[in-house]
């Protein structure tokens, strides 16, 4: 309901979990002193939707709680307001999120599209519309504040307002720790910029300024929690629950898919799980990040954002299905450059959240928004005409491959067929999940299938985006200019 361009009717039930969690945080932050927010106590039972996001979320909840107190104190009364649900309250919660979106996320999208180079105004408007129509962000109602801030960060850094950009991004991290998925590209890009300017002169100054900005913003957000070591440690423990294991529930990443064949969670010891997840994540994102540091460019930055976030999503631990939105946002940013693949990815990412959305009875809005998004993209960018190698940015890659395999000329044809198969599979799986009941012995069959299929897609996209980054050379770009 967030996005004003679509109006999923208010009769939809809210996501009970997240909804109650947000309401509970307002209750906690308003009624308890700061020192007790992250600690388990008789008033604050951490098992019941305990606060597990960084301090900015808590401050935001506090602000909302003050507004709630003005309208109806019952909504945030300690203990007694658990499970509170009324029409007015739902409206209030939705409005707080809507306002946050209107102030932060939507202006960032609009401004980003305005700053795109080499395309006409019409295309800029179409681009903005497509991004705003992305079903994932419309259907998953809560908590887009961090994406908004991250987007401002990307905008700032791409337009050479480095300090503002990094400030915005620090705020984003302090809002939701999952933004750390995007932190490496930011770090590498800014480091690369400093190197380019020369570490003995301007570069060094920039480095110092950035370091100060980051440290200052972190201190500001964490000020109440910096006083005692125990406070800081407890908050960190809540933010990064290493005790919870490699994954929970069904999510479209490698570990969950792999566990269909081999139950890793049970075989390997706990700390070992964390180590291999760490290793795989960093190995998969290392090439792109190194390249970004050595050759910082705005385009490389955006693509590295995608591949890093995707690596984290696939290989990290305790990944939630909703984290795919952290990958979708950077993909939305490259929508104008590789429309066909981006649209495909965004459709798959929406599909990967199917079990979650069905649980919340969002089937009709899902179908409607997906159709609307697909049509908007298909017509704005004429995606079906842009599937040549050149358009898919795979030209340099296929040229290199053709040095060894002269017959490798059918890449775009393969990709088109793959797209067709993929769409048919997704539609079929959706129909099956909605209409049939799973067999008795395998009650999770459909969600597991959805996750597995999505995971295969994501692996494919990981390879694809990495290819683009690694084969995107200066000579390639010069050739484009000559042509």
């Amino acid at each position: 309901m967030l996005n004003p361009l679509s109006h999923p009717g208010a009769g939809k039930p809210p996501m009970f979990g997240d909804y109650e969690a947000q309401r509970h945080w307002q209750e906690i932050t308003f009624n308890l002193p700061i020192k007790q927010w992250y600690f388990n106590s008789s008033d604050n039972n951490l098992q019941y939707w305990g606060l597990d996001y960084p301090p900015l979320t808590a401050y935001h909840s506090l602000l909302c709680a003050y507004v709630a107190k003005f309208i109806n104190p019952d909504w945030i009364a300690l203990h007694t307001s658990r499970g509170y649900e009324s029409q007015a309250h739902k409206l209030f919660m939705r409005t707080t999120v809507l306002i946050a979106d209107l102030l932060i996320y939507i202006p960032a999208v609009v401004l980003y599209c305005c700053c795109l180079k080499e395309i006409s105004t019409k295309k800029k408007v179409a681009n903005a519309l497509c991004i705003l129509l992305y079903p994932g962000l419309i259907l998953i109602d809560y908590g887009h504040f961090h994406l908004g801030f991250a987007l401002w960060g990307v905008l700032g850094v791409s337009c050479d307002w480095d300090l503002l950009g990094s400030l915005a991004f620090c705020l984003a991290i302090n809002y939701k720790q999952m933004e750390l998925y995007h932190s490496l590209p930011f770090f590498c890009f800014l480091l690369g910029k400093c190197f380019k300017k020369g570490l003995k002169g301007k570069g060094f100054v920039l480095l110092i300024k950035l370091a100060c900005t980051v440290v200052a913003s972190f201190i500001l957000c964490w000020l109440p929690f910096c006083t005692e070591r125990e406070q800081t440690l407890q908050v960190l423990r809540r933010l990064f629950p290493v005790d919870r294991g490699l994954f929970e529930d069904k999510v479209a990443n490698i570990w969950c898919s792999f566990s269909i064949f081999l139950k890793i969670k049970e075989i390997l010891p706990h700390h070992f799980q964390i180590i291999i997840s760490f290793c795989f994540t960093f190995l998969s994102l290392l090439p792109a990040c190194v390249k970004l540091t050595l050759q910082p460019s705005s385009k490389g930055f955006r693509f590295t954002l995608v591949s890093c976030a995707l690596s984290f999503f696939l290989f990290s631990f305790q990944v939630h299905e909703k984290s795919i939105l952290l990958v979708s946002l950077p993909v939305c940013l490259v929508l104008s450059e590789i429309p066909f693949m981006s649209t495909w990815f965004l459709l798959v990412s929406t599909f990967s959240m199917l079990p979650l959305l069905l649980k919340d009875e969002l089937l009709m809005p899902l179908v409607v928004t997906t159709i609307a998004f697909f049509i908007a993209c298909a017509t704005s960018f004429s995606i079906f005409e842009k599937t040549s190698e050149e358009e898919l940015q795979l030209k340099s890659f296929s040229l290199s491959v053709r040095k060894y395999l002269p017959c490798f000329t059918f890449l775009s044809r393969i990709i088109q067929y793959l797209f067709l198969i993929s769409v048919i599979t997704m539609v079929l799986l959706t129909l099956i999940t909605v209409t049939l009941d799973p067999p008795q012995k395998l009650p999770d069959l459909f969600s597991v299938l959805v996750c597995f299929v999505s995971c295969l897609h994501f692996l494919f996209f990981l390879v694809y985006f990495n290819i683009i980054i690694m084969w995107d050379s200066k000579s390639g770009r010069n050739q484009k200019k000559i042509n």
Partner: protein, 468 residues
Amino acid sequence: MAALGIAMGGGNWFSALALGVTLLKCLLIPTYHSTDFEVHRNWLAITHSLPVSQWYYEATSEWTLDYPPFFAWFEYALSHVAKYFDQEMLNVRNLNYSSSRTLLFQRFSVIFTDALFVYAVHECCKCIDGKKAGKELTEKPKFILSVLLLWNFGLLIVDHIHFQYNGFLFGLMLLSIARLFQKRHMEGAFLFAVLLHFKHIYLYVAPAYGVYLLRSYCFTANKPDGSIRWNSFSFVRVISLGLIVFLVSALSLGPFLALNQLPQVLSRLFPFKRGLCHAYWAPNFWALYNALDKVLSIIGPRGFLRCLILCALSSFLFGWHVHEKAILLAVLPMSLLSVGKAGDASIFLILTTTGHYSLFPLLFTAPELPTKILLMLLFTTYSISSLKTLFRKEKPLFNWLETFYLLGLGPLEVFCEFVFPFTSWKLKYPFIPLLLTSVYCAAGITYAWFKLYVSVLSDPPSSKTKKQ
């Protein structure tokens, strides 16, 4: 929605607009619905389970059948599809039955029957002269008209939230208007006759049809200065028109006449007791007189359209037991005029904005609040900006008073829905928001009516002959 239009090339833009609004309607399925939902469920049950002789006598539910027979047959046809969704809704005794399948069926039936409205808008667009517009697609009058009609805020919230079947009925009306513009008078008359037997509220605008058909169809030629040539009266045409109306009425009321139920049907359709009779018809007669006094100068389809709108507005302002939704009867035809002349555009914008705002009290539930505000803002912003762009070469559309009035709707809404509920007056005088809304909107609608009247009266005759 603008970007969809931009992105499409050629003739695809119309399909894009139609598809887009259909998707939006699907999203509105789970929203609040009024008692009209139960009304139509009841009528589905009555027409399905009972024989024709019982239809206008059945009174188990308080929502008795009070539309003409064609609508009853329409519900009968729908009920044969309904039985595949949920058999239970067709039981007359299941009062207030609203299972999820019932809701789905009813909402989808409204969305589906809107296809006729889409077709009618398509036909209306053909009647618009777009030669003076720019090359840009979004500046063409056809495009603006399609958006103003297909995405009309009032129709969206009345049909797809509040729940009614106005879409296809207005489709019939717009189609008959389009046929009259295309000089296919017999078809236009036929369609209007059919419409009357679907919903008799359209009787309000019947005088406009009558006068126009008489004037432009039955008198086959004009003198050079535009007035009637009395000896060109064609009996054949009068007879054929009369025959059409007679045949349609016979088809509709015939079965009930045979069953001797005509008085009962009429009493359901026109439910007033003795004594109120005069109060009901008097203002309408006055409206009739007002419209008819320009009989001899009404020339051309545009004149007919103005007359129709005047009839609709007059009956809205002065009629008996008029519902807020009846404003749509004036707003939708006015859209056709708005893309033609700047003066008409100005009147249209005042009428539409005020009229749509007056529909707000229909959706009084908290969850619909953001939806209705956002949809209204979108529609109003689009209509004002597109018409301003279309007529940018002429003088500005609004004077300072009109601008002030329209802007005043914002603070009014804020006061009624956000400030008032928190004040102490809410308990003592709970009717204040409704009162303020009604009075404020009445001022705007009356002003629009007055302006339209003045523009009809002051239209110089020479320009009218050119129009034809």
